[in-house]
Amino acid sequence: MDYYLSQAINGICQGSIYALMAIGYSVVVGVVGLVTFTHGEVIMLGAFASFYTFQLVGNNLIIGVIASFLASAFIGVFVFKICYERFFNAPRHISLICTIGTSMLLRNLAQIIFGPNNKPLLEVVPNRFFGQGVVGLTLVQIIVIATVISLSFLLFLFFNRTRWGIMLRAVSQDKTAAAMMGINVRLTSLLGNSIGCGLGGVAGMLLAIYYQTLVATMGGSAGMKAFSSAVLGGLTNIPSAAAGGLCLGIVENLGITISSASFRDIFAFIFLLLVLIVKPEGFAKKTGVRP
């Protein structure tokens, strides 16, 4: 029983990283109005940004968060310029295919630049355990959860309490009407896309310090997990996407408890398939839409 409980705790912790990936994903899909396939690579680059930052300035987590956010936000600008900016009025599949191409480009460049092998990222957070027996939290788990909660809270404030937040949400909901309000849709989408990518970058850093390793190809499964979690929220609803990430983390960890750790991703993708079959439109209640 204790074992299941501790696996559930691991699931919540990992799920909170997936939640952050999914939150970023939903922000991106909201502002660009399209699913993206580069989010995994954005996450991977955030992880590498923190890796090199830790090498450069020592294991300072706050600087790590800032560096991974900024690096991935910058990649977000690059992705936006390549995949979206010119294609706002083009058929949607053009941008979509463009994100697939960019994802391949970034992944392969990363393999060339960072090398193809796993890199260890040890001892960023001291190995401490709080709790009894097998039930409890490690320090890294506490840090992961605290980071995700604080970033989600900041994002919530930004989206709901600032004029920029209203502009971003307006652009996500109706680009034509947003332009009619005098909102620079291109610039606002660029900003939103960068924020979403930045959050993905921080999630990448958290993945790396949680697993104590990172690799140039980690974006493949990370991107699919961000997508799977976001699907649960109908792709653009941020709280439901976060809940989706949490669910995914728990399902995965309980799944490997009854089988083997190497089956981790299988559970993630069974989860995605089930969601798509049972409730393809997601579980988000469409607030403000008449029934």
């Binding site: 209203i166 307006a170 909901q173 034509t176 947003a178 332009a179 009619m180 309000m181 607030t287």
Partner: protein
Amino acid sequence: MILEVENLSVNYGHVAALSGISLTVDQGEIVTLIGSNGAGKTSTLMAISGLAEKAGGTVRFKGKDITDLQPHAIARLGICHVPEGRHIFPALSVKENLIAGTVREEKISRQEIVRRMDEVFRLFPRLKERINQGGGSLSGGEQQMLAIARGMMMNPDLMMLDEPSLGLAPIIVEEIFDLILKIKKAGKTILLIEQNAAMALQVADRGYVLVNGRITQQGRGVDLLHNDEVRRAYLGE
């Protein structure tokens, strides 16, 4: 003259929606553009606000050439376009929809926003009751009011209303036209697009009749209202 449209043409692919129309709107006027379905009324407004590509012609606003400006830049100059189909933000609350109307002014103060909201709520008391409700949960008439109210929050020099009465119950239509007159009294200039020619010509100072992308008649609202051709074509006589 606050708005001057000259020889404006709009094409969709090989289809000409507007073939060189010219019209003007003076400060403080209500000008209406009437015409049947597909005449090109919406295309006219979309071209003025930069949302439809112009095949030719010029648009001047307050003396400035805005023909090639981006839509948001045009809105920032003080043209508010209340579009066909309302286009309110469904997942923003009524209050947030109204605030969205003020984002074109970067330095607007909190007090000024509150003042404008109070003013808007005087005209639309029903919106005040729904202030925290999602925009998409309002009824059709309420959504139309929200769209107009959001436009007023922009404190525009020119309001362009695209068929505000479309799909609304007759009582609500009356209410909307009353409002348009009130907005005029508040000193605003209005370009009103309507299929409901009788109503539109009653409130308008001047009117233009659009047929197949060309202006066929123009004149004072009352004159058009009594013009035989207009009566036959649009008033069912």
